[in-house]
Symmetry: C2
Subunit: 152 residues, 2 copies
């Protein structure tokens, strides 16, 4: 049993919730990815195991993992929610390639500092922020899906 399963177990006990087979399966699958949608995770789990699993359970559990702090919701394209596995990650922002959908995480204390400054200037106290940079990889070598898609 790895550390995160223990963390989940702990949370569930505290809240008088139950540790189910499904919750463990979903957590384990989620820990193996970096970013994923509920649908995609559902597909993966359905293919992999003999275990049947409802899509609603995936959504419920993914949201549970977000409560615990193992995941975080992202909304890069305004249609689907992407769940970000934030285990072993500190706060970060995102660079998203419009061509190959690559997601790069970065952090910039300098930008954060300027954000605080802007907020203060307008009489605001910040609680959180969203910074997403959209563009494309300069180097096509690194933009694999784009190469594949365009046949280059």
């Amino acid at each position: 049993m790895n550390k995160e399963v223990g963390r989940l177990k702990n949370y569930l006990v505290k809240k008088r919730l139950k540790l189910t087979q499904q919750r463990e399966t979903i957590l384990e699958a989620f820990l193996k990815v970096d970013h994923i949608t509920a649908e995609e995770l559902h597909r993966q789990i359905s293919q992999t195991g003999p275990q049947r699993m409802g899509l609603a359970t995936i959504y419920r559990t993914l949201n549970l993992l977000c409560e615990i702090g193992i995941g975080q919701q992202r909304h890069f394209d305004d249609t689907r929610t992407i769940y970000d596995n934030v285990i072993n990650k500190k706060h970060h922002d995102h660079l998203i390639c419009n061509k190959c959908d690559k997601i790069i995480e970065f952090e910039s204390p300098a930008i954060e500092r300027l954000q605080e400054e802007m907020a203060a200037r307008h009489g605001f106290t910040l609680s959180n922020h969203r910074l997403e940079l959209y563009g494309h990889c300069i180097d096509w070598e690194k933009c694999r899906d784009w190469q594949r898609a365009t046949g280059r």
Copy 2:
């Protein structure tokens, strides 16, 4: 006929589209607001004029105005699209108060510069970005809706 109606007319002619009563009505109503949802604009127009107007027409026209550059879609709360009237506004980012829903627009060339730098460092060419700062007004005097809601 104001400048923006001319601009719409121009675009429509160029694209062989038609200037309709509805499109003019929607443009004029939109120009009077700063930020608005399609539903809310629909409500306003339905109340104001004797003109009946379908919600689909509002959506279609608002998206048309975004193509022209008169409006821009925003997704602050990830549920509804807010249309930002960007006539006479340059590029800007947003500060959103979680208590009173106030939206403040700001610009920070310094932040933009750092964004470009981060992108370059990761081999990216930027096409656009999204920066939203969430928090609350420090000064309650300025946070009217919050005062109202909490009864302070």
